[in-house]
C-alpha cells in the first residue's frame, strides 16, 4: 500500500495529542476502579494519582498547577471517596512538588521515586482520614498493602508515561 509523503523532519506534532494523551491517560488511570470486581479490601493502587505523578516527574512544565483540580474531580467521580477529596489532595501534591522543584534543582530517578512514594503514602492516609471523617471507621493498618503496591507500581507508571511521551510527540 502506497503511503503519501510524510515529512520526518520539522514535523509539527498534533496539539490535541500533546495535551490530550497525558490527560486521558490519567483519567483512564482513575477509571481502573470500574473493573468488575468487588473488593473487600482497599487493594487497588490509585492509578490516576500514580500516572499524574509520573507525568509531573517526567515533564515538569506539562501542566499548570490548577490542572490537578479537574483531574482530581474526575477521580472523585469514580473512587468512592467523598467528592472533593482528590481535588484537594492532588492540588496540594502539585503545590508541594513546586516547592520540591525549588529545593532540588537536580534530581535523579531514585529521588523522584522516593518523593512520589512519600506523596502517594501521604495522600492515601489523608484520603483515609477524609473517608473516616465522613462516616467511615477504618484502621490505617489496612492501607498497608495498598501503599506497598502503589510505591512498587510507580516505576512501571513512569515507563508507561515515558512511552506515551514519545508517542505524543510522534503521533
Amino acid at each position: 500500500m502506497a503511503r503519501g509523503y510524510e515529512p520526518r523532519l520539522n514535523r509539527v506534532p498534533s496539539r490535541w495529542a500533546l495535551i490530550g494523551i497525558p490527560a486521558v491517560s490519567v483519567m483512564l488511570g482513575s477509571m481502573t476502579v470500574l473493573i468488575p470486581q468487588i473488593f473487600v479490601l482497599p487493594l487497588l493502587p490509585p492509578f490516576g494519582l500514580l500516572l499524574l505523578l509520573a507525568w509531573r516527574m517526567i515533564v515538569r512544565d506539562l501542566w499548570p498547577v490548577w490542572a490537578a483540580l479537574p483531574l482530581g474531580l474526575f477521580d472523585d467521580i469514580f473512587s468512592g471517596q467523598p467528592l472533593g477529596s482528590a481535588m484537594l489532595l492532588w492540588t496540594l501534591v502539585f503545590l508541594v512538588l513546586d516547592i520540591f522543584d525549588r529545593w532540588m534543582m537536580w534530581r535523579d530517578y531514585r529521588q523522584d521515586w522516593v518523593i512520589a512514594g512519600t506523596l502517594v503514602t501521604v495522600v492515601l492516609l489523608l484520603g483515609l482520614a477524609i473517608a473516616n471523617g465522613s462516616g467511615g471507621d477504618t484502621n490505617a493498618i489496612i492501607l498497608l498493602p495498598q501503599i506497598i503496591v502503589s510505591v512498587l507500581m510507580f516505576p512501571l507508571m513512569v515507563r508507561l508515561c515515558a512511552w506515551l511521551d514519545v508517542l505524543r510527540w510522534t503521533l
Partner: protein
C-alpha cells in the same frame, strides 16, 4: 546549568501574571474542594445526591465490562470442570443424598413451625424483593467499601433498603441514581448491623472492620462467642428484617470476636433489594404509664 524552571519565566510580565493566576486558581480550587469534603461530613444527603448522579454515568461501563468478563470466565471454569469429573460426581452424589435427608427434616420442621405460629396467632410477613440486580463494581482504591448496584430509582430502589445475596446480607443502599445505586457493604468500617446468635438469640453488633471481616461485640455481658457461631440479623432498630444470615465467627480477638461475612461480595452474582423492615411498634407509652400507676 540547572534546567530552567517553568515557574520562573524571566522578565516577561505577562508570563509572570499567568503563573500567579494559575496559583490563585489552584489555591481557590483547593479551598472549594475542602468545602465539598466538609459537605460530605455535615450534609451527607446532599453530598450523596451529587454522587449518585455521577454513579449513573459510570455504571453502564462496569456492567458492560462485567458481562464480557463473565462470559470468558465461564469458559475457563467449564474446561476446568472436565478434570476430576468422576470423583467430583461421586462426592456430589453423596452430598445430594445427605442434603435430601436434611431437606425432609426441614420440611417437617417448617410444617411444625407454621402450625405453632398459627396457634400463637403470629402473622408471618413475606418479603417480596423490590429489585434483582448485579453488583457491578466496587471502590477498590478507597478505604470505604461501596459497591455499585445496577438498579436504581427507576426500578424502585430507595435509600436505606437492605441488599441481600443468596448466602446472606450484603449491605444497604446509601445513594440512589436513576439506573444505579451505591451499596454500603456490611464489611465497611462505618457500617453497624444488629445481629443475634442463631443458637440462643444472644444479641450483638456486627461492625465492619474494613478488611473484609466483621467484629462482633456482644450487647449483654457475660456472653462469649465461639468460633463457628452463626449470626443472623436481629431486626432490632428496623432496616433489616430478622433472620437474614450475616456472619460466622472465626476467632477471639482483642477488640471482639472476628467473623467472616457469609455472603462473599467477591463471589456475588446477583443480589436482591428488599423493602425496609419496620419493627413492630413498642407498646404505647400511655399503657406503660397506667401500668406504673397501678
Amino acid at each position: 546549568m540547572a534546567p530552567p524552571s517553568p515557574r520562573r519565566p524571566g522578565f516577561s510580565r505577562r508570563a509572570q501574571y499567568g503563573i500567579f493566576a494559575s496559583y490563585v486558581i489552584a489555591v481557590a480550587g483547593a479551598a472549594f474542594a475542602l468545602l465539598l469534603v466538609l459537605t460530605a461530613r455535615f450534609d451527607p444527603n446532599g453530598h450523596s445526591a451529587l454522587q449518585s448522579i455521577l454513579a449513573d454515568m459510570t455504571s453502564p461501563i462496569s456492567a458492560a465490562a462485567r458481562s464480557a468478563l463473565a462470559s470468558t470466565g465461564d469458559v475457563g471454569e467449564s474446561i476446568g470442570a472436565y478434570f476430576n469429573a468422576a470423583s467430583k460426581n461421586k462426592a456430589m452424589a453423596k452430598e445430594l443424598a445427605a442434603a435430601r435427608r436434611k431437606l425432609i427434616e426441614a420440611d417437617v420442621l417448617r410444617q411444625d413451625n407454621s402450625r405453632l405460629k398459627q396457634l400463637l396467632g403470629l402473622k408471618t410477613e413475606t418479603f417480596q424483593p423490590i429489585a434483582r440486580a448485579a453488583l457491578v463494581s466496587s471502590t477498590g482504591g478507597s478505604s470505604r467499601r461501596y459497591a455499585t448496584l445496577s438498579a436504581g430509582a427507576s426500578q424502585g430502589v430507595a435509600n436505606g433498603q437492605p441488599v441481600v445475596g443468596p448466602d446472606g446480607l450484603v449491605g444497604r443502599v446509601v445513594s440512589v441514581g436513576r439506573i444505579s445505586a451505591r451499596v454500603l457493604l456490611i464489611v465497611d468500617g462505618g457500617n453497624v448491623t444488629p445481629v443475634k446468635r442463631t443458637t440462643d438469640g444472644a444479641p450483638a453488633l456486627a461492625i465492619g472492620s474494613g478488611d473484609g471481616r466483621l467484629i462482633l461485640r456482644p450487647l449483654t455481658t457475660g456472653v462469649q462467642f465461639k468460633a463457628g457461631d452463626v449470626f443472623v440479623t436481629s431486626g432490632s432498630g428496623g432496616i433489616y428484617r430478622p433472620g437474614i444470615p450475616v456472619a460466622r465467627a472465626i476467632d477471639q480477638g482483642r477488640e471482639g470476636t472476628k467473623a467472616h461475612p457469609l455472603a462473599d461480595p467477591a463471589q456475588l452474582d446477583y443480589a436482591e433489594v428488599e423493602p425496609i423492615y419496620q419493627a413492630p411498634p413498642p407498646p404505647a407509652p400511655s399503657q406503660i404509664g397506667e401500668a406504673r400507676e397501678d
